[in-house]
């Protein structure tokens, strides 16, 4: 763990640099090789007749932007969830967000024959919101506001409920599955920027608001009495956290489908490097999450070209050894 402010600043800069390199790599590497010069040309001197320019503009820019936003969004949502529930195993999925998105997408496709990716994306977002709203309502301790334990329990119950609904619908309408694959597969490729443009600002705004709340988030780790004694409105802070998680994880799952691991592990990686202070933890998580998903997506393209392996597999493959290494090192330090 980095202890001094100087070391942390250096660490943050390293993360930023890593992210920048990952973004460039994501634009440059793929089935059709592109040089850095061509990349710059395609961005600043676009030639519609040039295949490489076209590939960069039509394919790689969108998947780079999507991976960046989704990775950052999932990681920050993970930090919020873990602080909110004081549960290190909490991840965005635990609020029922993935299950809600899944159910709405499946219901939309099977009952209302929706299949346009742009429709599915908004349905998923709506579903994530509804499920998380339900979980939040059920998670209220009578008279005391949101209870972390109740919230987690409600999340597990709502997840089970929505998943079983979805399975039932899919079993009865197997023919509709084809139109869902686009969303179910969990991927940052093939998402046109037009279709996701409406959702990306939500992630940006939510991350900015989260970064403004670092002081309150730091206090949330303490006992409720202590927090109240320090003059913080626990109920309101938790409510705001829930809304932010819905915005971040709901958008991420709506855009990219079910991508596991980032929301759970990245916060731990950031904590192992930067400690538990949210002023460092949050921005570091956003940077690491975005970089991890970008690198994973780039690697996914390069392993067995021209095929790609699912990005969720790569995030786990890349992230797990790194996480284990950090976990061991942290233990030996403390």
């Amino acid at each position: 763990m980095l202890n001094s402010a100087l070391a942390r600043s250096a660490g943050a800069l390293t993360c930023l640099l890593l992210l920048a390199l990952a973004a460039v790599a994501s634009l440059v590497y793929g089935n059709i090789p592109v040089t850095l010069g061509t990349l710059l040309d395609s961005l600043f001197a676009y030639d519609a007749g040039n295949i490489q320019h076209l590939v960069i503009r039509s394919e790689r820019v969108s998947r780079t932007v999507v991976a960046l936003a989704v990775g950052a969004g999932l990681a920050v949502a993970g930090v919020l969830m873990q602080s909110l529930t004081r549960n290190p195993l909490a991840s965005p999925g635990i609020l029922g967000i993935n299950a809600g998105a899944l159910f709405f997408v499946v219901a939309g496709a099977t009952l209302f024959s929706l299949s346009l990716p742009s429709d599915l994306i908004w349905l998923a977002f709506l579903g994530a919101g509804v499920a998380a709203g339900l979980v939040f309502t059920l998670g209220q301790e009578p008279g005391q506001g949101l209870s972390p334990v109740r919230t987690v329990l409600a999340g597990v119950a709502i997840t089970a409920l929505f998943v079983s609904f979805s399975q039932g619908l899919l079993i009865m309408n197997q023919d509709r599955l084809e139109s869902l694959l686009f969303w179910l597969a969990g991927s940052v490729s093939g998402r046109s920027l037009d279709a996701v443009m409406g959702l990306l600002p939500i992630i940006a705004v939510a991350i900015v608001i989260t970064l403004l709340m670092t002081r309150q988030l730091n206090l949330l780790g303490m006992d409720d009495e202590v927090i109240q004694g320090l003059g913080l409105n626990v109920v309101r802070t938790r409510l705001l956290c829930v809304v932010l998680v819905i915005a971040l994880a709901g958008t991420a799952v709506a855009i990219a489908g079910l991508i596991g691991f980032v929301g759970l592990i990245v916060p731990h990686m950031a904590r192992a490097i930067f400690g538990t202070d949210h002023r460092w933890l949050l921005p570091a998580s956003a940077l690491i999450g975005a970089a991890l998903l970008l690198i994973a997506d780039t690697v996914a393209r390069l392993v067995i070209p021209p095929q790609e392996i699912p990005v969720g597999v790569v995030t786990a493959l890349l992230g797990t050894p790194l996480f284990l290494h950090l976990a061991r090192k942290t233990r030996s330090l403390t």
Partner: protein, 340 residues
């Protein structure tokens, strides 16, 4: 979330002819009971005329009498039975145009439907008291021991090798003459086609062809399968990159479009709107316009039932009909065709 991938996996498998096997062995106990009852019954009626030993992919089946109650457990077997003039007592449903492909029409009579090819209804099979069951290794190797206890079972090595399947079925059902006639007919047509296309294309023959398919979220290049089997026999070549010993590949990024290139491209896909959209997305990409097959206007959309799912000799003939049409060739043999 744990069960969901399994469900999805099942569903995906259901849409293919060449994906992983999905087998239901849940009802084994009740089936064993049936087996007991039926095996006692069959002891009494051992009218042994001429025992035939049929070697198949998973062993040898001894067939003591000319089978009259045949059960078909995959699409190619149903097609081949129809070609041999046998109406099965039970069969698995088709992947599309359920329960029986339109092109097989009423050739198959009114068999009892036994569910999906990937998970046939074993109890239903036992109730039918069949005297021959036809399965495929890839689909049925796990339930083969059970099937073999119900009735003599022959298992094909590949779901798409219509030639060896026909030979095996002929041997098992005692219709070798008919099978020989069918294969002679087929060989004659193949020869006729080869002669005509060589004449038509000149030094462009043999041409390299790619077999493509589109799904809701990806595109596919097939390296093996029914269409490949027939095209190989006709003398078509695959592009060097497509000559691999695996079913094929899935492509998720349109950047990979150049991997699809060949002299000619055959595309089969189902009519789902999501699939149609994928197809439109991919085929409107400038990289697609750059493919040599596209530039030379050699892209053919073909029927997935004929080109992929049918997988028997009737489907093979229909595939050949398509090719005669595509290349504007006169069909010199089909006049006396037994099937047409």
């Amino acid at each position: 979330m744990i069960l969901l991938p399994i469900l999805i996996y099942n569903n995906r498998a259901a849409l293919e002819t060449s994906d992983l096997p999905v087998l239901s062995t849940l009802r084994i106990n009740s089936i064993l009971l049936f087996l007991l009852i039926f095996s006692i019954g069959s002891l009494a009626s051992g009218a042994d005329r001429h025992a035939v030993e049929v070697r198949h992919s998973l062993g040898t089946a001894t067939i003591t009498d000319t089978p009259s109650r045949v059960v078909s457990l995959y699409q190619g077997a149903s097609d081949s039975l129809a070609a041999l003039g046998i109406q099965p007592v039970g069969m698995v449903e088709s992947w599309t145009q359920k329960p029986i492909y339109d092109y097989l029409g009423d050739r198959l009579g009114q068999p009892r439907m036994l569910g999906m090819e990937t998970q046939p209804d074993l109890e239903g099979i036992a109730w039918l008291q069949p005297d021959l069951i036809v399965g495929a290794r890839y689909r049925h190797y796990e339930v083969y021991p059970l099937l073999d206890q119900i009735a003599p079972t022959v298992i094909a090595e590949d779901v798409y090798d219509f030639r060896s399947l026909l030979g095996m079925l002929a041997q098992a059902t005692g219709r070798t003459n008919r099978a020989h006639a069918l294969l002679d007919q087929w060989d004659a047509r193949v020869e006729d086609f080869q002669a005509r296309i060589r004449e038509k294309l000149g030094d462009q023959w043999p041409m390299e062809v790619a077999i493509l398919s589109f799904r809701g979220d990806h595109a596919r290049i097939y390296y093996k399968g029914f269409a490949k089997q027939v095209l190989d026999e006709l003398g078509f070549k695959a592009p060097p990159a497509h000559r691999k010993d695996t079913w094929g590949i899935k492509l998720t990024s349109q950047e990979s479009i150049p991997a699809m290139d060949a002299d000619a491209v055959f595309i089969f896909m189902l009519g789902d709107p999501a699939i149609q959209r994928t197809y439109e997305n991919w085929t409107s990409h400038p990289l697609w316009e750059n493919l040599s097959a596209v530039r030379r206007d050699q892209v053919f959309q073909v029927d997935p039932v004929t080109w992929n799912m049918g997988a028997g000799i009737i489907a093979a003939h229909r595939l050949l009909d398509d090719l005669y049409d595509h290349y504007g060739l006169e069909d010199g043999v089909s006049e006396g065709c037994i099937l047409c």
